[in-house]
């Protein structure tokens, strides 16, 4: 029983409402296009920032992935080395002798002249020869071919980073040195193979001998300690808070504190570690175990928050089914909820560990930025970590470290991307559609 006449009802529906909807449609479409435009612009901006960052890293870093070597025919003079004391042989003299073959007009018996010539080789060259002879003493008396690294200045020259056209007084290498280098080059003994030293050897004063092995091993130990401490503690805390703790003011307070801890600047954790682990507990300074514990403190809030979210996402129907069959609360959590929440927990853990890998400030404060030239053999030895090694190299004056810093950053980024990719893959694979 309505008071609206048929004419009124019909006309209202066909004219004014449709017209209003059509007008608002034009406005809504316009707004949508503007929003889409902003979205595309934002993505474009972010991608271009990424391209600029990675591009600049690659352009400064790629020279570090090759290292200039000099191939020499070295006669292992039995008079210079004694089979009984292989490590004490005069390997530098042997190298000087083989180099001298290319410079017949230089008097190799004069120390200054000889030193100028051997300047071309890295100071690690004789160590390489020594290692070769020590591994195979039968080489004494033989002439062997060995590729030794060139010194950093000549490496830079070869890669064009030391410009030949700058005036001589502004250059690191004088004309005579460059001429000697060109002589060797035209003799065909200069080559630039892949710089495996970057990964296989530890830090060094000389860029051509410096590598990330110490930092990689140090980071590995630190992350291992971090994982071993934070994974069980974080999951246990999250399970207790989510499933067993009574819902009162105290647990609310704890939750607020955990969320805040996730936002605390990492340098504060470094100060904490310095005061507590190094000062009170007297743990070894610069050791990955302290670094690992500090990183664990930082990763705990991330793991707790991720685990709680994963536990909450398990549907209550599974819990009810388990309770209905007569499972106790603990059995419900450990037999049913936890296995179903595990993919989410793992994803959160991997992301937390990836963050920990890149943390620099706390490790600096506990001393993992010392100059250490050998890889640690365990978590208690002094070590550096990958981000702190980058920090050290960025500060070093030698030209060779400029490109190596960028190369080290690229190595770190590769690890981070790999870890995050694994996390995303795991999440996709185990995602359940309820």
């Amino acid at each position: 029983m309505t008071d609206i006449t048929p004419e009124q009802a019909g006309s209202g529906r066909t004219h004014s409402t449709t017209e209003l909807v059509r007008q608002s449609l034009a406005r809504r479409n316009r707004k949508q296009k503007v929003l889409q435009g902003f979205g595309i612009a934002a993505i474009f901006f972010a991608l271009s920032m990424l391209v600029i960052l990675v591009g600049s890293l690659i352009s400064t870093g790629y020279p570090a992935f090759t290292q200039t070597h000099v191939e020499l025919e070295v006669f292992v003079d039995p008079e210079e080395v004694d089979v009984e004391r292989l490590s004490r042989g005069n390997y530098d003299d042997m190298l000087a002798a083989s180099l001298g073959a290319y410079f017949p007009d230089v008097d190799m018996s004069s120390r200054t002249a000889a030193r100028e010539v051997t300047q071309i080789l890295s100071s690690g060259a004789e160590l390489k020869l020594r290692d070769r002879v020590m591994a195979d003493p039968s080489l004494i008396g033989e002439t062997i071919t060995i590729k030794v690294p060139a010194a950093d200045n000549f490496d830079q020259l070869n890669k064009g980073l030391i410009k030949r056209d700058t005036p001589e007084e502004n250059r690191r290498l004088n004309d005579a040195a460059i001429e000697r280098f060109d002589t060797l080059d035209s003799a065909g003994v200069i080559s630039t193979p892949i710089n495996t030293t970057l990964i296989t050897s530890a830090d060094s004063r000389f860029p051509e001998l410096a590598g990330l092995k110490g930092a990689l091993v140090g980071s590995f130990w630190a992350l291992l300690v971090c994982f071993v401490v934070s994974f069980p503690v974080g999951i246990g805390a999250a399970i207790y808070l989510e499933e067993f703790a009574p819902k009162n003011r105290l647990s609310d307070l704890i939750e607020i504190n955990i969320n805040n801890l996730a936002a605390v600047p990492s340098v504060v954790f470094g100060l904490l570690a310095l005061a507590v682990f190094l000062n009170w507990f007297g743990m070894p300074r610069s050791a990955p175990i302290v670094g690992g514990l500090t990183l664990a403190l930082m990763t705990l809030p991330t793991i707790i928050i991720a685990t709680r979210a994963a536990l909450k996402a398990v549907p209550p129907s599974i819990r009810e089914a388990a309770l209905g069959v007569g499972a106790s609360k603990q059995q419900v959590v450990f037999h049913h909820v936890l296995p179903l929440a595990m993919p989410g927990i793992l994803t959160g853990t991997i992301i937390g560990l990836a963050q920990a890998l890149g943390e620099t400030a706390p490790l600096l404060l506990i001393g993992m930025n010392a100059f250490i030239t050998s890889a640690p053999s365990g978590p208690l030895d002094s070590a550096t970590a990958l981000p702190t090694q980058i920090f050290i190299w960025a500060d070093s004056p030698e030209r060779g470290f400029v490109s190596r810093t960028s190369a080290a950053i690229l190595v770190l980024l590769t690890f981070l991307i790999t870890m995050n990719a694994i996390a995303i893959y795991l999440r996709q694979k185990f995602e359940r559609k309820w």
């Binding site: 819902k247 129907s317 599974i318 009810e320 089914a321 209905g324 069959v325 007569g326 499972a327 059995q331």
Partner: protein, 265 residues
Amino acid sequence: MNDMRKIERDAKMADTKITARNVNVFYGETHAIKDVNVDIADKTVTAFIGPSGCGKSTFLRCINRMNDTIDICRVTGDIHLEGTDINAPSVDPVQLRAQVGMVFQKPNPFPKSIYDNVAYGPKIHGLARTKSDMDDIVERALRRGAIWDEVKDRLDQPGTGLSGGQQQRLCIARAVATEPEVLLMDEPCSALDPIATAQVEELIEELRQEYSVVIVTHSMQQAARVSQKTAFFHLGHLVEFNDTGDIFTNPSDPRTESYITGRIG
């Protein structure tokens, strides 16, 4: 004469599995179940009917103390299972739920294999000593759930891979695996198609011969089909409790009559 009445009375009382007296349930401030008294008999299907929100599921969940998991829920009154007060502090709800099985509205098999779904209850209660004991228990339960023939060659496949009706029958098999005395069913067929519903109803008729079954249902036709006793709930009160035939043909309370004729609910 008195002796015969006493024997009758004794026989009747031996048949009663669950007695509820003055049961009140509060959700915080809300008074959800008001002073309910009911007797659930053994080897019988008792149906709880009533409009939405009248408290039938809440009362059902009192019987196996599932309401304990809800913090704001408070249950008062006596509920006795074969003479023992289930709310007494000496009674462990975990053990109670082995004696009182439950099937839920939406089928919820564990995301494990069919075998593990059924074996989980007996495993945690320690009902099987050897693997072959467990195999027997699983087979017996799946046969009682009328699903053995369909799954006997694929016991290691996930339970979630079955159809809706099969999943619900799997849940019923899971519930009877612990050899309960009472089986509670909270609208077990509302998520199923008519054919699966018919299969489950047939199953309920078979189960009645061994267990006491309490079923909450929205469908009066279903209550009329499967149950022998019916309780009508309305706004938290137990309005009427009688034989199913009497409730539907000759209700004594006007509210019952309004509900079954479709005027309310």
